[in-house]
C-alpha cells in the first residue's frame, strides 16, 4: 500500500524544509520569549495599566483563529509595505523580503499568549522568599531578577516551554496559507506529483516525530543542568 520510492521522495522534500521550519520556530520563540517575559513581568509585578491592558489583549488573541491572524498580518503587510518604503525613501521591493518573516510575525502573535503564560507561571513558581532575600541583601529589583529569580524560573519553565516549542514547530504547517512552504506542505507538494499523499503524510509525521523526540531529549538535558542546584546529595 505504501510505495517506498514515493515515501523517500516525500521524506527528502520534508527534510529539506527542516532548516526553514526550525529557523521560523526559533526566531518566533526568541521573540515570544523576549516579549513574553516583558509581559509576564508586567503582570507579576502588577505594573499598573499594563497589567489590565495585557490581560485583555492576551484574552483576545487567544480567541483569534491562527489562519485569521496569518491572513490579517499578510494583508496588512502587503498593502502597506510599498507605501512605507516610499516614505522611508528605501529602495526595497516587496519581493526582496522573504515571506518567512511575515509568517514569523504572525506566528509570534499566535503563540505569544501561551508562552507569556508559561513564563508567568515559571516566575510565580519561584518562592517569594527568594525575592525578599535578594532585596534584603541590598540588590536592586533588576539584580534580583537576573541573578536569583530568572535562573530558578528557567528550570520550572523548561517542561512547559518544550510543549510550546513542539506546538510551534507543528503550527508552522499553517503558514502555507500565505505561501510559505514548511515540512508538512513540502511533503505534500512532493506527493502531488504522483498523488501519493499517504506517503507524504507519513513522511511528514516521521520528520515531526523525530524533531519532537530530539527536542524532548534536549529539554531533559537542559533541565538536568538547571536542576543541579536542587539535587540532594545521595
Amino acid at each position: 500500500m505504501i510505495n517506498g520510492d514515493y515515501f523517500m521522495m516525500c521524506l527528502k522534500a520534508a527534510i529539506t524544509y527542516i532548516p526553514q521550519n526550525l529557523m521560523m520556530s526559533l526566531i518566533t520563540l526568541a521573540i515570544s520569549v523576549f516579549v513574553g517575559t516583558f509581559i509576564a513581568m508586567a503582570r507579576t509585578y502588577q505594573v499598573r495599566g499594563f497589567k489590565q491592558l495585557f490581560d485583555v489583549v492576551l484574552a483576545l488573541l487567544k480567541a483569534l483563529p491562527p489562519n485569521l491572524i496569518l491572513l490579517i498580518v499578510f494583508i496588512i503587510y502587503n498593502s502597506n509595505f510599498t507605501k512605507i518604503m516610499q516614505v522611508l525613501h528605501l529602495n526595497i521591493s516587496i519581493k526582496d523580503v522573504n515571506l518567512m518573516y511575515v509568517a514569523i510575525v504572525a506566528l509570534t502573535i499566535c503563540c505569544l499568549p501561551g508562552i507569556s503564560e508559561v513564563i508567568r507561571s515559571g516566575l510565580m513558581a519561584v518562592d517569594h522568599g527568594q525575592y525578599e532575600a535578594g532585596y534584603a541583601i541590598g540588590l536592586t529589583k533588576l539584580q534580583t531578577f537576573f541573578h536569583i529569580i530568572a535562573p530558578q524560573a528557567i528550570r520550572a519553565v523548561i517542561p512547559p516551554i518544550t510543549n510550546s516549542i513542539l506546538s510551534l514547530v507543528k503550527a508552522t504547517a499553517l503558514v502555507n496559507v500565505i505561501g510559505v512552504v514548511d515540512i508538512m506542505n513540502g511533503a505534500k507538494i512532493a506527493g502531488n506529483t504522483y498523488y501519493c499523499y499517504m506517503e507524504a503524510y507519513l513522511a511528514a509525521a516521521l520528520v515531526f516525530w523525530v524533531i519532537g523526540l530530539m527536542l524532548e531529549v534536549f529539554s531533559h538535558k537542559v533541565e538536568g543542568i538547571f536542576s543541579q542546584s536542587v539535587k540532594k546529595l545521595a
Binding site: A63, I75, A125
Partner: protein, 245 residues
Amino acid sequence: MFEWGRVIEYFPTIIQKFPITLQIVLGSFVMGVTLGCILAIIRIRKVVVLDQIVTIFISYIRCTPVICQMFVVYFGAPAVLKSLGVDIAEINNIVYVLLAYGLNMAGFMGETIRAAILAVPTGQTEAGRAAGLTETQTMVHVIAPQALRIALPTFGTIFISLFQATALAYLVGVIDMIGKAVSIGAKTGHVLEGYVCCAIVFALISIVMEQIFNYINRKLDFGKSGHKITKKYRVAKKVEEVASV
C-alpha cells in the same frame, strides 16, 4: 479586502454551524478526559507493556501535527472496522473527527491528569491508606477531587483552544464553523470575514467559559482562600513540580 458588511452577511450561515463545532468540542473533550484518565493511571501505575505503548502513543500525539493524526484515524479506523465486520459506509464522518480529536485530547489530557495526580501530596494517599480505604476509594474520594482542582486551569485552556483546533474537520468533509468560513471563502473569495465571525463567537465563548471555570474553581476551593486562622507552617515548603501541557 475586508468589509464589515460581509461579516454581517456571513454571520447567520456560520453561526448555524455552531452545534457541529460544539459537538466536536464536547465529544472530543469528554473522550479526551475519560481516555486521559486511563492513560494517566496506566503511566502512574507503570502497567507492564501498556505503559510503553502509552508512552509511544503520547509521544506521537505530542510531536506530530493533528492533521497527521486525523489522517491515521480517517484511513486506519475504517480498515480496522472493516476487519471487524462493521459497514463503514454507514459511519458518519463526524465519528472520525471525534475519534481523531478525542485521541489527540487523550494524549494531552493524559499528561495533564498524570501531572495533577502526582502533584497531590503523597501524604493524602497515605492518610487514605492509613484510614483503611482501598486504593480505588482513596483515588475517588481523596485524590481525584484534589487533582481535578490542580488540572482545572489547564483543562480550561485546552477546552477553549479546542474551538480553534476543530478547524481541520472540514478536511474529512465535516463542516463546522471554521469549515463553513473556509467554504464561503472558496466560493466568494473572501475568507477573512468568515474567520472574523468565528473569532467573535470564540471570544464570547472564551469569556463565558472563563466565568464557568472560575465558578467551578471556587466550588472546588476546599476553604483554601477563605479565612485562615493561622498562616504559618513550620514545615519547609515543598516545591511542587507541576508538569504541564
